[in-house]
Each structure stands twice: as C-alpha cells, then as structure tokens.
C-alpha cells in the first residue's frame, strides 16, 4: 500500500469501526465457500456414504419391500466372484487404450506446441472441436465407419488383413478404438500445456552437446513434460475405466466392462446392494492405481 492509504477517508463515506470490519473480513471466506461446499457435501459426499451403506444391505431385500441393513460384507465377495472378468476387462481395455493414446497423443501435443508455428491455434481447435458434438453421436458414427458394409472393412478384406467374413464392429478392437478416440483430447490438452512451456533452446543445447535426438527427448523433453503427462494420463484413465458406452454401442456382451454390469444392476436387475458394492470396488481400484501412480512419479501436485 502506498502512502495514499493513510489519508483519512473522505467525509460522507461512513467508515466502519475497525473491529467490526475485521470480524466481517474473517467471516467472508466462509460465507463465499458455504453454498458450494454445502452443495458438494450434500450431493457428492453424502451420496457416497449412502452408497457405502447400500453396499452392506441384506441382498435378499428388494426395492419394493425395502432393504435391511445387516452389514453384509459378503456382498463384495459375491460381486467380485461373479464379475471379475468384466473387472479385468475394464482395466485391460483402458490400459491398452491408454498406450495407444500416448503413442498418438504425445506426437500430436508436441507438434502443436513446438512445430505448428502460426497454425497452433487452428490445430488446437481441431483437437477440441469434435468435443462440441455430443459424444454419443460421435461414438455412433464409429458404427458407420466400422460397419461390415463400410469402406474400411472392405479395404481390409481386400488386402487380406481381415478374413472374408472378418469384421471390426462388435469386437474388442472396436471397443478399444472407441475408448481411445473418446478420451484422447483429455490426454492431449494437459500434455500440450506442458510442452508449450518447453524452451526449444534447451533442445538445441542438448544437440550442441552431442546428444542424439532420442537422448535429448529422454533426458530433456520427457522429464519437462512430466506434469502434463501425469495429469493427462489420469484424465484419460479414470473415465475410460468407468466407461460402458463404447462397450455397449461398439461391442457385444462379450466385451462388456464393469460399467455395463453396474448399469444393469441399478437400472435393469434393480439389485442395489450388488450395484453399490461393484461401484465401490471400481472406485477403490481406480483410487489405488492413481495413488500408486502418483507416488511412483514422485509428484502429488497435479491439479
């Protein structure tokens, strides 16, 4: 504050007594936080607690007769035994999709950040723009692209990469492709933000000191892009593992992921205790992986 601050307040503006003013100042942050925090407590935290309770309900109850709270820990065991293949598939598919997304997303983010010059903004728009169209509509478009009568399948059959009655739709390939496509922008954007701040002179210095391009990448580019890489990986992996839209629209029940099972437990079979137990297992598994991953990569300040 400059010396001007010491000039007495002009007449006509009643100055509040300092004590009252400071009291109100101290309360202000809490008042600002209250509505939002209350909303999150009531509609995010409380539901999680309710879900935890529901996962321990007596499974012999039903929605119409009501559930008895019996602390049925066995629900978890039963759910895991019945649906471990879908669990394993969820993590396998999203892991493969993540690897594919990294192979595609890193060069893309790097090219936009370092090589695009005056086309930078245009290319960024090209990454984000597809997300303006409803993702269900876009996922359905893959049904057309991968269709048995489509040009792609025809081409692959002609060059014998695919058998005469081979297909792409309704296969694990289609589901992984859909997952990769749907969540790729979430990986690219944080990665771009990191790479954009990379000073190209560092790479010049590396090459002046006789580092091969590969070595310069491993020792300079990669470490400096780590924050974006970590944030992007998480933003990709978390929704991809919980996704069931791609498996439903592009796959068959043979490709169902854990999300499909949870969806049907709540909305079709109306088996709330099992649906709740599966939801919690999914969340616990994801949180465990995220935690280990963040520990390993040595940073906890991602977002």
């Amino acid at each position: 504050m400059s010396a001007l601050a010491h000039v007495p307040t002009p007449a006509g503006q009643p100055a509040a007594p300092p004590g009252v003013r400071r009291g109100r100042r101290r309360l202000l942050p809490y008042l600002l936080l209250l509505p939002g925090a209350a909303w999150l407590l009531v509609f995010f935290v409380l539901p999680l607690l309710q879900l935890a309770a529901a996962s321990l309900y007596d499974p012999s109850g039903s929605l119409s007769t009501g559930y008895a709270m019996t602390g049925e820990v066995g629900n978890y065991w039963v759910a895991l035994q019945a649906y471990w293949p879908q669990f394993a598939r969820s993590f396998a598919y999203s892991a493969i999709a993540l690897v594919l997304a990294l192979l595609m997303g890193y060069p893309l983010a790097y090219a936009i950040a370092q090589k695009a010059g005056r086309w930078k903004n245009l290319l960024l728009v090209a990454v984000v723009a597809p997300m303006f169209t409803s993702f269900l509509v876009r996922t359905l478009a893959w049904k057309t692209i991968l269709s048995d009568n489509g040009a792609l399948v025809g081409l692959l059959r002609d060059v014998h990469l695919l058998g005469a009655d081979g297909r792409l739709l309704a296969t694990p390939f289609a589901v992984v492709l859909g997952l990769t496509y749907n969540f790729l922008p979430f990986l690219v954007l944080p990665l771009y933000a990191s790479l954009e701040r990379l000073d190209p002179r560092l790479l010049e210095a590396a090459s002046d000191l006789y580092a091969s391009p590969l070595r310069a990448f491993r020792r300079v580019t990669l470490p400096l892009s780590m924050p974006g890489l970590i944030a992007g990986t998480l933003l990709f992996f978390i929704p991809a593992t919980g996704d069931y839209i791609n498996a439903e629209l592009l796959g068959t029940p043979n490709e169902y992921m854990i999300g499909n099972v949870i969806d049907s437990a709540f909305l079709v079979r109306l088996d709330y205790p099992q649906g709740a137990a599966l939801s919690f297992l999914l969340m616990a598994a994801i949180l465990a992986i995220v935690f280990v991953y963040l520990r390993r990569s040595g940073t906890e300040e991602v977002l």
């Binding site: 409803s134 996922t139 478009a141």
Partner: protein, 278 residues
C-alpha cells in the same frame, strides 16, 4: 533427406492423429444428408436434404433437445455462481480447513462418473425423492462446480493485484473496485467456466441416466434411439452443434485479432482506455 524427414515426421503423425479425431465428425455431417435404408441401418444409402429441412420430424428428439438446454442453462448459472464464489475464497482469502476444501473440490473430478451417478441414485431412492428434471439439475450442478472453481481460480491467480490497490488508492470503495476493476478482469475466466459447465451438462449421459427418472434429455434420447433405430435428424443436430461452436470460436478469435491490431495501430488510444482492451 534424412534431416527433412526427421524434422517433419512429428507433424505427419500429428496430422494423421487429427484425421482420426475428425473422422467421426465428417461421418456425422455426411450422415445428416442420408436417407437410411432401414431404421437400424448405419450405412450411407441415399442423398437427401429432408433431414435439414425437417429437423424436428421426430418431435421427441426436439423436446429432449429443448429440455437439455433448459437443464444446461440452469445448471450453468447455479454452478458458475457457486464455483466463482469458492474460487474467490480460495485465491483471495486465508482460512482454516483449506486442504479439506481443496480435497472436496478435487475429488469429484477424480471420481468415475458412474460412481457419482449410482451414489446419487442411492441417496435419492433412500430419501424417497422422486427423480426427474430437478434431480438432473442437482446432479449437473454437483459435477460442474469443481470445473468452474478450477477455471476461475486459474484466471484469478494470474491477475495483477496492483491494479486493485491502485483503484483503492484512488479512493474507490471496495465495492467500486470490485465492480470496475476485479470483475471485468476475471470475467473472461468466468465466461470460460460457464461455457465449460454448459458443455459438460449438455453432453452428460452417464450421471443423467441414473438420475433422470422418466425425463429424457438429448443424450438419453440418442441412447434410447440407438436400440430402436437412430433417426437421421440426430446427425443434423450433431453437425449443427459442431458448426455453431466453430462459429463462436472463429468469431472470438477474430475479435481478439482485431483488438490486438487496433492496439498496435493506435498505441495512444490504447493507453487512453486501458480497461477496454481484451
């Protein structure tokens, strides 16, 4: 030759990946001119303009579209207000329990949508709340708030506080300073947050699906139609949304460029009215 390749291959890969990202949009645009051979066919059959001239031929779809916009608008207004207030508290004030609040804001972004959807459903069922329009709004506000906080916070944190101090030094009251200095400077962040919230709400399917009761939003309509046969008008809406968004982006970047050029051409004028820039 080797050098040239080494320099260009990253760009080549990037363009291929961009092609992969834009392929579905191109297909959606193409299918919006398609007259499908049967209800369940996803293949291109015959060119027609009917879908564009009669976008609401299936009235259910347009009802759902309007409902999605209503929900999106309400959820955007509420979540933008709640989130902006929180962002101000986090950046501008010291208080106890900061790490708790940070966790409360971060967790919804790290939780799978599926779990948020099922847990809200469990709560509404246990509390006997009938599901419909307003439970969707509640859910959407819940998952939008965190994204608003993060977006506004970023803008606030990068702001030069000396501008506000200068205003106070010039006898502006706290309210005047906020109204004339702080708010205009944060506004781009708030607008960005609101746009993000609207697009998140408008496009949400998973959480909505668990909390909608019998209310049908646009994504839920598409999901239901995928089982019964998709009307080609869905692709018209998809293409139109894409085109509108592109126009908005184009217009704002054009405006930004013109403002920058004006500032370069007339530095004196720009100095004369420093707050009118941006």
């Amino acid at each position: 030759m080797r050098r040239w390749l080494a320099d260009r291959w990253v760009m080549g890969v990037a363009l291929l990946v961009l092609g992969y990202l834009s392929l579905p949009i191109i297909v959606v645009a193409g299918l919006s001119f398609n007259r499908p051979s049967s209800r369940l066919s996803y293949d291109f059959n015959e060119f027609t303009l009917d879908n564009w001239t009669h976008p609401c031929a299936t009235s259910d779809m347009c009802d759902a579209l309007v409902r999605s916009m209503e929900i999106g608008l309400i959820a955007t207004v509420v979540s933008t207000i709640l989130g902006t207030l929180m962002a101000f508290a986090l950046v501008r004030h010291g208080f106890r329990g900061r790490s708790g609040i940070n966790g409360l804001i971060f967790l919804p972004m790290a939780t799978p949508e599926l779990v948020m959807g099922t847990s809200l459903l469990a709560l509404f069922v246990a509390a006997g709340v009938p599901q419909g329009f307003w439970t969707i709004v509640i859910a959407h506000v819940m998952f939008c708030v965190s994204f608003v906080v993060v977006t506004v916070k970023a803008r606030l944190a990068g702001m030069d506080r000396r501008l506000e101090e200068a205003a106070m030094d010039l006898y502006a009251s706290e309210w005047q300073t906020f109204r004339r200095i702080t708010l205009p400077l944060v506004l781009p962040g708030i607008v960005a947050a609101a746009l993000l919230a609207f697009s998140l709400s408008f496009d949400d399917f998973i959480i909505t699906n668990f909390n909608a009761g019998t209310t049908v939003t646009f994504p839920m309509y598409v999901w239901g139609a995928a089982q019964r046969g998709i009307p080609p008008q869905v692709n018209v809406i998809g293409t139109a949304m894409f085109a509108i968004a592109l126009l908005l982006v184009g217009a704002s970047s054009l405006r930004g460029r013109r403002a920058r050029r004006a500032a370069l051409a007339a530095p004196v004028a720009a100095v004369g009215a420093p707050t009118s820039a941006s």
